[in-house]
Symmetry: C2
Subunit: 429 residues, 2 copies
């Protein structure tokens, strides 16, 4: 397994006896595999990393390469699962100050006029293209932005603007599919049996990643490896299910209210956002579930660290730690040593960051009595990131079924939309 799941800083009393849960976990695993549980018509993601065709991947890469050669900017126009996976992956794999010539920006995820205005103004200075992502094509945030983007495309590039658009939408139905058919945009299919928060493995995530120059075949290879490794009904050996069970146990037996997902690299902050959607939207229903929150360490140890260390005992932490950095820096001797840092001479930043990680685990667990689960990856690359996503998706499905909720619907998201449509005077509301 590419992910090392650690319970060394959890505390013995917080570790369930896996043997006692053998039958329960095996029966949920069977239910997932045989597609008999709640929401089973949204289990398309389960085998998608195996079934996705090489020709689809090749087509995505080749279209993305045309975009990379012709344009300097891609606007990913989508909200929720339609952009979070892309943003998480592109930040994680390219960093926050990439030198890649293709800039990726995000629109269609906000109604704020300040944001939309400044993004459109910025795009006027760029040679831009658009990837619009929407199952229906009528999500307000996304369709309003897409209309504005089309106006700007027409204004800047005339009739040839259609070449600059790629759509990812339903195979046959919906407003965006109709528009694709009318206008002849290049389009990819968002499979009907895969929900937004599981869609990073589909063209929803794959086209933006490829446009960002990321190796999507390696990404899917990692997904498929995780699919194989997590396909194991035995809780005593399946680390993915162990993670699901431990968080369920901490919540239902030990009464923790919050899981805090923490990373040690700013480029992974958006992965936390993706993680939060995955679990909160999958589990937060019927008055149930852990609330997900997140920090980026060591940065936030200087803001939220105080609460974790000494505040209310309502949370446990899940730490994602990547052992080997892409680049490292060694501290040099300073003859004056005014800052007193010479004791670090010859040490690398990754060494220091790793000591901060261990020191924080000890501080929070031993002194602060906060249980910690650790997820460790050897390095951050497309293959390992794909692996991580699938691992967490599978853990989430198990976790939600343990809570006895449908992991794949999100009925609560409709309520604000209905109120908003009513207030906007939309017909039928």
């Amino acid at each position: 397994m590419k992910i090392d799941v650690g319970f060394d800083y959890l505390g013995e009393k917080n570790l369930p006896n896996f043997n006692r849960y053998k039958r329960k976990i095996a029966s949920i695993d069977k239910m997932i595999k045989e597609r008999t549980g709640l929401g089973n018509d949204y289990l398309g993601w389960l085998d998608y990393p195996l079934s996705i065709s090489t020709s689809l991947l090749d087509d995505i890469v080749s279209t993305a390469n045309v975009f990379r050669s012709k344009y300097d900017t891609l606007v990913v126009c989508g909200i929720g699962g339609s952009y979070l996976g892309s943003k998480a992956s592109i930040d994680a794999l390219r960093g926050l100050k990439t030198t890649d010539p293709m800039e990726i920006v995000y629109l269609g995820n906000s109604l704020d006029p300040n944001y939309v205005h400044e993004m459109l103004a910025y795009l006027k200075t760029r040679n831009f293209s658009v990837c619009v992502i929407s199952k229906s094509g009528t999500t307000t945030e996304t369709s309003v932005s897409f209309r504005l983007l089309k106006d700007l495309l027409k204004e800047q590039y005339g009739d040839k603007y259609r070449e600059r658009i790629v759509a990812v939408t339903d195979e046959t139905s919906g407003a965006l599919r109709k528009e694709v058919n009318n206008e002849g945009y290049k389009a990819y299919v968002l499979p009907g049996d895969i929900g937004g928060r599981y869609s990073v493995m589909t063209p929803v995530g794959l086209f933006p990643l490829a446009a960002a120059g990321i190796d999507i075949k390696a990404f899917m290879k990692g997904m498929n490896e995780a699919r194989i490794d997590c396909d194991n009904s035995d809780i005593t050996t399946n680390k993915c299910y162990q993670y699901a069970l431990v968080r369920y146990y901490l919540h239902t037996r030990k009464k923790y209210k919050v899981e805090m997902f923490n990373v040690y690299e700013p480029r992974l902050t958006a992965v936390s956002e993706w993680f939060k959607q995955l679990f909160d939207e999958s589990e937060g229903k019927d008055g149930k579930a852990l609330l997900l929150t997140s920090c980026t360490f060591t940065t936030d140890l200087h803001s939220l660290g105080q609460f974790i260390q000494e505040g209310s005992k309502i949370l446990f932490e899940t730490i994602l730690y990547v052992k080997n950095p892409d680049n490292d820096i060694v501290i040099k001797e300073d003859p004056e040593n005014l800052d007193g840092l010479n004791y670090l001479t010859g040490k690398s930043l990754s060494f220091i960051n790793q000591k901060a990680y261990i020191g924080t685990l000890k501080a929070h667990y031993e002194n602060g009595n906060v249980p910690n689960i650790t997820l460790t990856l050897d390095k951050m690359d497309a293959e390992n990131l794909g692996y991580l996503y699938y691992f967490l998706m599978k853990a989430c499905a198990m976790s939600a079924y343990l809570l006895n909720v449908n992991p794949f619907n999100q009925p609560g998201v409709e309520v604000y939309k209905k109120n908003m449509f009513h207030l906007l005077g939309k017909e039928g509301y």
Copy 2:
């Protein structure tokens, strides 16, 4: 008062009887004013907006203008309260895709080699300057980065590199003050009686803001107006204390565990981060306090919205809403109307965002049974932002004293540092 504090979506049962708390609030107010409570040696912020001298403000503006005319980038090198206030303010007031010629970037807030490496590589392509902010000059994240930044400055600009450095540090003591005295950097004083999370009103926040082209005199004017408006011991009329009392009441009487601070504009996301430090670090001690978390709406309604609407009933929301945008966009008629948006023809984005705001309040409160407090500002500018900060600082002091904790220390932050120093083999640990 520039902030409208609303309890219309709170629920009658969640609103304390203010009259019953008159004496308690008045006595804490007296304790703050007379500086007799816990941590009273850190109450310097209380009157700082009044006592700050025009000559200091002029000096900051004039130095910042020199930097603006000579360099294209300022690195703010600090962690926690030494950068969060600057980042929050600069994002809020300049937006996320500013056209201002002075770029502001942040370093000294992470030990991650990937992040530090890519920032240094980026700075090699810029004509950069540094504002280093540290009370002691020995905070690991900041001093390691500052060492690396000095190396790069020397490499790129030779002996004149000192001109490109501004320091904000203690008036007389500490490693950074010593270095300032030795090297002759331009320096400003971080007052000894103002803690990091209250320091945005001091040169800690003011120099970066001025370098970003923000009107710091208007910012301090807003701070001082809030100082006057919040200086009122009567809970029945002081909205600042009402906010503090209501959140205390929701936590201690109604057993809510989490306050979720939500904004409706991506440029305000960093204000939420500043807010989270302010309250979590002030209150999260002795096993007490609400945990702060945050969302940016409507974006996160498509990720965390499901949990808020239908998940565990452990949280209430505090919404920051700004009525008037800096720029607006009107939806135009589309003859084809494939996206079905023509019912919005002639409507502005601010109008739609406002309906989303009201629709969400109703959805969460009426359908979801989640109490909401609303903080409404007329517009976002330097004066109003200064006002907002002071209002929240004063509310936080009251709130922490209601919990009977010291609002101004952060003993828990030291624990991970001690462990880290021990693991790194630093002398004395």
